[in-house]
């Protein structure tokens, strides 16, 4: 066993002297995470914000192209309400450009606030334009979001109208004085807006179902349905103070995804280096020492495993402290999953190394395999947006099970009870890969 340790530690020692390895295994995934979080919104600022906080932690949602053709209170309000929708990222541009781009197929749809919208809306009949190409008949997920904003705006406009009518009828505002009427309307509009946003009489509250608290809250509430429903807000608030909304951010997707991908990349590359040693006959010479082939291979595997573990821990730490991703919600579950995933990854590395002949082949096949596995497993994008066959494909790759488990821990705040299956499946992958890989690996 001691000999195995020596071989393993030797592997790590060689690695720490390799500066390019540090760049590739640590800095590159961090750079990628940085870019994704810059582009799709970071996690650090977003976590404390309330649902109406808006811009701070913008999620990896949908872009809405918006052209505003008039300057009015209502047009401003449309922009404001749309920007507050956390699933939308609003990009403003001129109407001609927007239409040209929709027409050219660059963007799927755009929304126009046309000239005269404010006036028309106050008469009760305003309309926004949804610019689409013919043939794109399917309902786009952005459409109901815009509809919902319009509903709230309509409630606000209608309320302002009712208020002004009441005020003039009762003589608080002189109906003959347009300026006074306008001032009253604006004041009422603003106040109605606060009611529409605030805890209005008929409201919707979203509770992210997360945290182990979920289980205990459910248990505590027992058979009384009303109590069950009421018990949840507390747990949701404890889970994440997000005012009932919880959107995955670019930083979260990036930190999880690139950690999973680059750890696999790291061990697969390390497995390739086994083949260099075979080509250079280092392995054969090692066997002249008082160690068995089994011990050497065991040591190499242990070294690769430890390497993956260290890399994963460092990337998780970077995610936690640099990118503000909440990795530490269930340390036990996280540890189990990390160990299982790194074991499966190491197994994949040795399997690959045993299937090819030269290091050159290993690096070419390895890179391809790693990138494809990462894509299939949802390391590059959330699987909720891909087609059904692709979601099913994720169930057949270790990266898919790892991502699913990490999402459970980081986003859903789940504990061991939720990820044990992921851990078991990854352990299964690891055993399968090791078994086949070690059996067919050749030293000469």
């Amino acid at each position: 066993m001691q000999k195995v340790w020596h071989v393993a530690l030797n592997h790590l020692r060689i690695l720490t002297r390799d500066r390019t390895a540090i760049v590739f295994y640590l800095l590159l995934p961090m750079l990628f995470t940085f870019i994704t979080s810059a582009v799709f919104g970071g996690g650090a600022e977003g976590d404390g914000g309330s649902g109406s906080g808006g811009a701070a932690g913008r999620p990896a949602g949908y872009t809405l192209h918006l052209a505003v053709e008039e300057e009015s209170l209502l047009a401003e309000r449309v922009v404001e309400l749309l920007s507050e929708e956390s699933a939308l990222r609003v990009v403003q541009e001129p109407r001609e450009q927007l239409q040209a781009r929709v027409e050219a197929g660059e963007i799927a749809l755009g929304v126009v606030v046309p000239e005269g919208f404010g006036e028309a809306a106050r008469r009760g009949e305003g309309k926004l334009l949804l610019v689409q190409r013919p043939g794109d008949g399917r309902t786009d997920p952005r459409e109901p979001l815009v509809q919902s904003v319009l509903e709230r705006l309509a409630a606000q406009v209608a309320s302002a109208g009712v208020a002004v009518a009441t005020l003039t009828a009762r003589g608080y505002v002189d109906a003959q004085d347009p300026q006074a009427v306008e001032a009253a309307w604006q004041q009422a509009f603003e106040r109605a807006g606060r009611r529409v946003e605030g805890s209005a009489t008929v409201s919707v509250r979203a509770y992210p179902v997360e945290g182990p608290e979920r289980a205990s809250a459910a248990a505590a509430s027992g058979a009384v349905p009303a109590a069950a429903a009421e018990a949840a807000p507390a747990s949701a608030a404890a889970g994440a103070a997000t005012g009932g909304r919880r959107m995955a951010t670019g930083a979260e997707q990036g930190s999880l995804g690139f950690s999973v991908m680059f750890v696999l990349m790291g061990v697969v590359t390390a497995a390739g280096s086994l083949l260099v040693e075979r080509q250079e006959r280092t392995l054969a010479r090692l066997l002249t020492c008082p160690v068995t082939a089994r011990q050497v291979l065991g040591g190499k595997l242990l070294g690769m495993f430890l390497q993956g573990l260290v890399q994963m821990v460092l990337l998780i730490a970077a995610g936690q402290w640099i990118f503000g991703v909440d990795w530490g919600r269930s340390p036990a579950a996280l540890a189990a999953l990390v160990v299982a995933y790194v074991a499966a990854a190491t197994g994949f590395g040795i399997l690959l190394a045993s299937l090819v002949r030269t290091e050159a082949q290993a690096s070419a096949v390895g890179t391809l395999a790693v990138v494809v596995l990462a894509m299939l497993g949802g390391a590059w994008w959330p699987l909720e947006i891909v087609s059904r066959p692709m979601q099913i494909a994720a169930k057949f790759v270790p990266t898919g099970w790892a991502m699913d488990g990490f999402l459970d821990i980081v986003l859903r705040g789940a504990g061991l009870e939720a990820v044990w299956l992921n851990v078991a499946v990854l352990a299964g992958f690891a055993l399968l890969f090791y078994g086949v890989g070690v059996a067919i690996f050749r030293f000469e």
């Binding site: 390019t20 590739f24 990628f32 870019i35 582009v39 872009t63 699933a87 239409q99 050219a104 197929g105 660059e106 799927a108 929304v111 126009v112 305003g126 309309k127 334009l129 949804l130 610019v131 689409q132 190409r133 043939g135 794109d136 399917r138 997920p141 109901p144 815009v146 919902s148 509903e151 709230r152 309509a154 309320s159 109208g161 009712v162 009828a169 009762r170 004041q187 106040r191 009611r195 009489t201 008929v202 409201s203 919707v204 979203a206 509770y207 179902v209 979920r214 009303a226 429903a229 949840a232 995955a248 070419a364 894509m375 299939l376 959330p382 909720e384 692709m390 986003l411 859903r412 705040g413």
Partner: protein
Amino acid sequence: MSLRRLWALVAKDLRIRARDRKGYLLLLAMPLVLTTVLGFALGPVFRGEGLAQIPVAVVDLDGGELGRTLIDGVLRGEALAQMLQVSEGSGASDLERMREAVGRGQYAALVVVPEGFSRSAVAGRPAQLKVYTDPGQSVRAEVVRSVVDAFAAQLMRRQVAMATALEMVTVRGGLFAMLSPTLVPEVLQQVEQAAGRVELRLEKQLTAQRSRPLNAMDYYAAAMAVMFLLFSVLTVSKTLITERQDGTYPRLLMTPATRLEVLLSKLAGSFLVAVVQFVILAVTTRWLHGVVWTQSAMGLALVVAAAALAAAGWGTAIAAISRTGNSAENLGTTVIMVMSMLGGSMFPLYGMPDWLRAVSKATFNGWAMEGLLRLMFDGAGVAQVLLPAAVLAGMGVFLSGAGLLALYRR
């Protein structure tokens, strides 16, 4: 300088490339596989149907009229039939079970109509619909929430109108005004008359169809071809350094070949490898996935030639600032990955923040994609791709000039 010698040098490098089996895998199989995976995986997203069939659970503890309207009229309504897949449970036990299932990601969201909801809403008392969401599918969950929101907003309208009117009366007339016995009936009447009259609509406005809609397969065929152009030139320009290390370079100089000829041969070799690779990828993706590259062969030739030149420039420049073949490969890979991410080879830049689109204009990928996408989707001809082609050519001339100069002086 002799063209014949130059060609002999280029031919030598091309022969070496052609024998490199790892090269085929990396430079041809990899972009093809990636194009296929990306094209299939992101196809629905590009078509705007990414969120079809969102699994939603509902539990109606109310049984009143409003709850049924929400479930049968809205969630199961015709407008959302393609988007939502509704499963309804009943009672507290289903509520618990379904909420657990949301936590496991089985449903994107669970909509709960609490007991007494209809009664409270009709009477103007606070009434709250609950949406339990899965943070692991937040985009889908948010869509469900917005649907329920819109429904609530309709119900809410009368109540907000009433409250706002009363509030405004106190603001303008003081608390005393509230004592008027006719106030509430009058406001109620106003609400009945006016509140329902405001209707804001989202009207569809269809554009004329000028060119093809974007699709993921074509997009990523271009994106990967662009990215792997860089990888392929790197394999050639790397030899600028490795041939020094292994002594091939000094031996080449003992032949009649001059230093300039050797350097230029690498540039020409990179260019040719890039062009050949692009042609193979273009033909294969066309045949395999029916990718439509262009309607203007001249335009495509122009963009590809300019892109190959620019790629050769990047390769030369990277070789010029690296000391060993390994460091050239590592630096090159890093530069390529970062440029690809920022330049649209990994995800489309449409609708991305302006700073990103500005940054993309400093990358090889940004301009090459610009040219190719115009050809693919805008039906562009030579005139419309002159700008990207010119920028790429300029990039190529500048980088290869600077790179060759630095290498020549070594």
